[in-house]
Amino acid sequence: MTIIMSKYISPSNYKLKNRCRNFALKTTVLIGILIILSSIFSSESWAQNHINKDSIQQAKKRHRLQRKENRQKLNFSIDAIRFGLEGTYLFQGLLSKNMADFYSNIRKYEGSFDVTFLDNSWCLIGDFGRWESQRIANVPFNGYQYQNHGYYFRLGLDYNILKHMKQKFTQDAIFLGMRFGQATGNHTIRLLVTNIPWKFYDIRDENGDLTDLRQIRYDTELPSRNFTASWFELVTGLRATIWKNFQMGYTFRYKILASVQNQHENLAVNEIPGFGTTEITAKPSFSYHIFYRLPLRKSLKDAVKKLSKKSTENKSE
């Protein structure tokens, strides 16, 4: 830069030349300071970046460790399996006359199987049942005989809220959950109808007594038809140990009918196996269960303990 300046300034003018030199010196010094300062700042920013990178890496490490810890905490394990039987219709018939009348012509068999996991906080459930019902109204003029039978299943998941309340109830549960139910059935109806203009009316003999009603009433049986139906349930209930591994429990259900397929063209589906009557498409329901709980986690722990004992014995020998 000084060379360039000296070429530019005329040598005859010394003062001017000297000024130029000073200017050149000043500028070089200034540039030098600027370079030094910039280098200092750049090194500081690099250091800062370096520190940031380190902190990110540390945070990542911490996150990884936390995830590992969480995984260890979760420790996914199947705690127990339960086999149950439902006997609601037996109890309901005893408690209320209406219920007794309603359930007197119903045969319902239901079994359930469930798996509890994650320290008894979640439960995967499967129910399977058979339903047979018969409704007979033998009124003097218009009567009917309705028959319905079929199978159903429910699948669902429960969450045990008791897990958050008390730790000591390791086998019991108060739960909230959901179910999906599906049924397949078959139904038929026999009708006995009187209608005077269409000459389905009573005929009396000489003594004024009625002859056989079946002969004079319109008597028909609609052909049986298969149907399928599905529904959802919101459930809540209780499972409590009553003796050793035997448990008792009840479930409140709120059933919401989703669909009924293959409806008979002349006969509406009156009852759906597992769902009940179809008069109301969303309704509450209640069921009792008796379970046998087979703990799996405890037995596994015992097995591990036994094995460890054996190995220590072997080592000592």
Binding site: L95, S96, L162, I189, V193, W198, G237, E265, L267
Partner: protein, 167 residues
């Protein structure tokens, strides 16, 4: 303690639910009778019928022999039946019904088809029959037009079929 209280609350709710079951209440508005309304193009507003029969020979109504067993008489029956609308009971054994009308020295027929759907209510309530998609497939009336105004039959229907008679 908390667990026990929740347990008893559930039991109480359960008992309440069981006793809360109500008796049968029959709320259906479905009807098995088709309301037919006649309109004359002239100033007369009423049609005079001698009798109306089903295709099986059973009487919907007629003037004489009121004491005959099994007779169905409408509430408005008089010595000379002058009616504007009549409720015709449909055949419970079939998806079609035919009726024969005797009036003004004429004999006319009206045939309708429909879809029946039976629904069981409860043993106390009996069954409910829904009749829908009513159609007139045959008639011999001297008509200007015939209309099915309400194909789903219900108890409070004033007219399901409107028949506009010509002169």
């Amino acid at each position: 303690m908390l667990f026990q209280s929740i347990k008893y609350l559930f039991l109480t709710l359960c008992c309440l639910w069981l006793f809360a079951c109500e008796d049968c209440t029959f709320t259906s508005k479905n009807s098995s009778e088709v309301a037919v309304k006649f309109f004359l193009s002239a100033q007369d507003t009423e049609v005079r019928f001698d009798s109306i029969l089903t295709s099986k020979g059973g009487h919907i109504f007629y003037i004489n022999d009121r004491d005959e067993q099994g007779l169905y008489l409408p509430e408005t029956s008089e010595e000379i039946l002058t009616i504007q609308s009549v409720k015709l009971s449909l055949n419970p054994a079939s998806d079609s019904s035919a009726f024969i009308f005797y009036w003004a020295d004429r004999k006319d027929t009206l045939e309708v088809i429909y879809e029946r759907q039976i629904e069981v209510i409860t043993p106390d309530c009996g069954f409910d029959q829904r009749i829908d998609h009513l159609q007139v497939i045959k008639n011999t009336f001297p008509i200007d037009s015939i209309l099915v105004v309400k194909p789903h039959l219900q108890i409070n229907d004033d007219n399901n079929v409107e028949i506009y008679l010509s002169e």
